[in-house]
Symmetry: C2
Subunit: 262 residues, 2 copies
DNA sequence: CGGTTATTTGATGGGAATCAAAGGTTGTGG
DNA sequence: CCACAACCTTTGATTCCCATCAAATAACCG
């Protein structure tokens, strides 16, 4: 099954099992591919798109702009995601969608999706589920922004991104590429770029991560999770597909305690 | 059509049009009614419910508990809502659901919902849409908690609750019942009860609202919206059904400016 | 390379948290 | 119907985390 490397199938299989038939149906959906540069708009708030897009390569972000120009990022999307699937049934966009890095997107007409869904209730349910996981991530986003300290937010965010990337095969050996600026992370975490920078410095100093350019290396997964109070349940990853290259170290590294307290 | 007063139908018709047939199908779903007292758990994090519940009367809240006992409320639900509809396809609860006030709930088996959905793709799409609106509210919740000042959060929250109650006929003449303690609002807004109290005092002083016990009276809808920078788009209410008893006053009441600036 | 964009570090200030305690309200049982 | 307890609201004083302001590198890119 070499074609299982197709991003949407990888992604969906990380959260649900597919029959060969269903894989076939998905593979044959008409998709028009288009490449975007970094920081291009895909859909704007207020629009009523007639497609949804599958993110094939690159990172995208959903955000709202405030009256004074501040930006709150509501979610980040990685290959395999369908960042505006909600527009299938919510006809007016209530937020923006834009690329963060150069992206390849596959656009699928709502018409085709609706037809597929009417014929394949099981696939419809899986896509519904995809949007529900999206909502689950939104909920954790609320908690992160509402209740967590700057340091916890940063660590929690890195945990989430790492696991989501791992689920689609984009993180190996504790390493992944995060094509985000610190200002991007600030808008995601409701912090300033200054605070983001300071927290990253801390996490590095504490030996939890290394970060050079856009390459993130998780040095101490257990410590990172603990200092974030991270619980991956909300990602609703399929346990069988979670690669978990990162065993939680049993060591009481002392550092983790320090991490939690500061 | 007197039965249109049935809460689920009122609610769904506030966001989508139903055929008589569809109304029929919905009315005949097996529902088992159960009454709850104030502050009772309905579903706990970690459980895998086999029902979803329709909130017929009362208020419910969804929340996560943190390691130290803090609570972040992720959403409040009003009659007509189906607060755990997501459990239909996300089998493990990633948060708690509990009553805020005494409630009457109607439980519908997932089995029955799935059967209905497989047979009625249009109803399935409407229910999907219900969960998507839920997610849209989560997104605005992120913005509120992430970017708004204490005063804006409070005003924004009141705007949202008022419109949602109005959409199901539970707000008239600018008045509605909000059976929440200030501590509840604090957990929703990621503030302390002290701050909530201070902001409520401010909003009263500025003549935007009156609040006696659990009865909220909106005195200046335009001013309240402006001081919250509230834009109702994210609620995805059906424009035809939005009652809007509250015309936005064209007066530049001076107060609104003061409201925005402080 | 020069110019823009991104990261890093230091100094200062403010908005809301925290701490503390006094009033109100509600409900229950004597 | 009063009294007491539990809960909720209100107000004041103090603290602290992170935003803000400022400026010096460093990295990227055409």
């Amino acid at each position: 099954m070499p074609l299982d490397n197709h991003p949407i199938i990888r992604k969906i299989e990380s959260i649900a099992r597919l029959s060969d038939e269903e894989r076939e149906v998905l593979r044959h959906l008409p998709v028009s591919i288009r490449d975007y540069e970094r920081r291009q708009e895909i859909v704007r708030e207020g629009e009523s798109p007639v497609h949804s897009c599958l993110l094939i390569e690159g990172f995208a972000s959903r955000f709202k702009l405030l009256e004074d120009g501040r930006r709150q990022i509501l979610g980040l999307h990685v290959p395999g995601d369908i960042p505006d699937l909600q527009s299938l049934h919510l006809h007016r966009m209530d937020h923006h969608l834009a690329t963060v890095s150069p992206c390849r997107l596959g656009f699928i007409r709502h018409h085709d999706l609706n037809e597929m869904n009417a014929r394949n209730p099981r696939i419809a349910a899986i896509l519904w589920r995809v949007t529900l996981i999206d909502a689950a991530i939104h909920r954790e986003w609320v908690v992160r922004v509402g209740q967590r300290s700057a340091r916890q937010r940063m660590a929690h965010f890195l945990c989430e991104m790492f696991l989501r990337l791992e689920a689609v095969g984009l993180a190996v050996n504790g390493r992944c590429v995060l094509p985000l600026t610190q200002a991007d992370m600030a808008d995601a975490l409701a912090l300033t770029n200054v605070s983001v920078n300071r927290m990253l410095v801390q996490l590095k100093k504490d030996g939890l991560i290394a970060l050079e350019g856009r390459l993130l290396q998780v040095l101490n997964w257990g410590g990172l999770m603990r200092s974030a109070h991270f619980d991956p349940g909300y990602l609703h990853l399929n346990p069988e597909r979670v690669i978990s290259t990162l065993s939680v170290p049993r060591v009481h590294s002392g550092d983790a305690g320090a991490a939690a307290s500061r």
